[in-house]
Symmetry: C2
Subunit: 138 residues, 2 copies
DNA sequence: CTACAAGTTCAAGTCGACTTAAGGTCAAGA
DNA sequence: TCTTGACCTTAAGTCGACTTGAACTTGTAG
């Protein structure tokens, strides 16, 4: 079993050594041991880092991502939690998609000022309504 | 022309008053005047806040969003910039979509541990490769 | 054996986007 | 006129995710 030192993990994963130490401190990854002071990582940490990267890309916090691993460091999530996360992502994708459509429309719209384009206004109103419905307080 | 005080804007937009002041300080919105000390906002600020909300949902920073408004406070972006943003969003949507698919697959996958599912492994490897290709340093 | 590159720890700093606290002002109603 | 409540300003604090700096240790090559 070949162990990797921190710079090798950093190189192969593209994650900075300082971030790796940070992840270890937070309990997202674990080193397999030490050679002197130096951490040695098992190769499975690369997969774990890939999961971490994915999770971050999806907007999860490190704390949430940590919860996605079992005590053995292998990904372990209840199916229902996963489905909830997938639904969250769907919402986000929907929002981004309408935003993208709106932006693309505005880019192609012949109105001299975007604000004068009725479709732009409509999209804005829709998103405004969404927010008024879930206010920050009370 | 009816002017709104800050709490009315907060109520209608769902944005906290402190955030509104913050946005004004950063130049994203402007108050139409004052009554005594109190800010008064024109109704157009609600549309601007909707755009700000959308921009945030799309992952833009306040600074970037600020750049989406002309000096008059109306959205103003060159068509080419808009198309670039739309393309960025497409990328992001693509990433989130594959992540969602992966998560949903894992949720439905019969393998006792996710890590044993070949598809899961494949997806992880793909994302690992992406990162190794763009390392943080040098 | 010694020097050195590569690692280590711990504390503090950074960045963005706000929020909170403390103390001040003022328009409007009783 | 007095009080009050809504708002004001400024500074400092918070949170997450790291990064940076300073001072220290150690396996390994020469």
């Amino acid at each position: 079993m070949k162990l990797l030192d921190i710079s090798e993990v950093a190189r192969q994963s593209g994650v900075a050594a300082s971030a790796l130490r940070h992840y270890e401190e937070k309990g997202l990854i674990h080193s397999a041991g030490r050679r002197g002071l130096k951490r040695l990582f098992g190769p499975e940490v690369l997969d774990q880092l890939a999961v971490i990267r994915l999770g971050k890309a999806a907007g999860f916090s490190l704390e949430e991502i940590k919860g996605m691993f079992g005590p053995d460091g292998r990904p372990s999530l209840s199916r229902s939690v996963l489905r909830t996360k997938a639904d969250d992502l769907d919402d986000q994708i929907t929002r981004l998609t309408s935003l993208r459509d709106m932006i693309r429309h505005v880019a192609d719209c012949p109105a001299p000022r975007h604000i004068e384009c009725p479709k732009f206004q409509k999209l804005i109103r829709i998103s405004a309504r969404r927010n008024a419905l879930k206010p920050n307080k009370f």
